[in-house]
Amino acid sequence: MKTKILVLTIFYLIGSFNLSYAANSEKVDQISKNLRCLICQGQSVYDSQSDFALSMKILIQNKIDEGKNDEQIYDFLKSKYGEWIVYDPEINKNTVLLWVLPLILFVFGGILILRKVSIK
């Protein structure tokens, strides 16, 4: 019985240690999911375990501790690494088609359906 408790305690301790090690603050997770890991292929900073991404997460935590809000952190990183680091592309002349095309298709499709219905 005693050994059983001991073994369980040890497992529990290992588990809780891992948990505390792995747990970034939720805020860091949330921000890093929106950041592209620039040196990885198709991964976010959140997903990646590369040196770059790990440092980035520490930096985000530091910035949060300094009292910066999300917007300020994104802006800071954009100023360092450019627009490419965030997944959400901003609306500018290069991306306007990207944003408007779904709308156009939606309206176009709607017109098609309306015409089909009204013909019947």
């Binding site: 620039l38 040196i39 040196d51 440092s55 980035m56 520490i58 930096l59 100023s79 360092k80 450019g82």
Partner: protein, 177 residues
């Protein structure tokens, strides 16, 4: 007639999309840093490799006209390759070379310098990699040329230096003034 228009439209669309995709293929997908925001924020502190004192990078770069900030690590093989180029740059009077030791073991870093020579006038350590991100760096090795008077980044190289980059660096330093 209606059928014809449809056919023409489809063929036309296919041709247009073909050329759009063709253009996309030729576009290089590698991200290269643009230097639009060449002003850098030097506002961070780092500890020296050879002492326990700290310094802001702003203080580090202040004594000559140009600075090169080189991010390196002893575990980084390309850093070994580019080391001779840094040693070569050391001879320039107007330039000081500052090393940032990235995510390294200090003992290994000192061994690396002892083995290959020291091109740096000062070396600071960056154990967490956060300072390098403040500089907008991607990893090791990376080299940033700064004009100390205007506090702007003149050039940034991701990856090891080579003959071509070395001549380019020297040209920039020669032509600025």
């Amino acid at each position: 007639m209606v059928k014809n228009i449809k056919l023409i439209a489809v063929v036309f669309l296919l041709i247009v999309s073909f050329f759009i995709l063709l253009k996309g293929l030729n576009k290089t997908n590698n991200y290269s840093p643009n230097l639009n925001s060449s002003k850098i924020d030097f506002n961070f502190k780092a500890k020296f490799l050879y002492s326990d004192e700290e310094s802001t990078l702003y203080e580090l770069i202040n004594d000559k006209d140009f600075s090169i900030i080189n991010i390196w690590a002893s575990w980084c093989l390309p850093c070994r390759e580019e080391h001779s180029f840094l040693l070569n740059l050391k001879s320039l009077d107007k330039l000081n070379i500052i090393g940032i030791n990235y995510k390294d073991n200090e003992i290994n870093a000192k061994k690396f310098i002892k083995e290959l020579g020291n091109p740096y006038s000062k070396i600071v350590v960056d154990p967490s990699g956060v300072n390098s991100i403040e500089l907008g760096a991607y990893g090791v090795p990376e080299t940033i040329l700064i004009n100390n008077n205007s506090k702007t980044i003149l050039k940034k190289y991701i990856g090891p230096l080579d003959d071509k980059k070395l001549t380019e660096l020297k040209m920039i330093i020669k032509n600025e003034n």
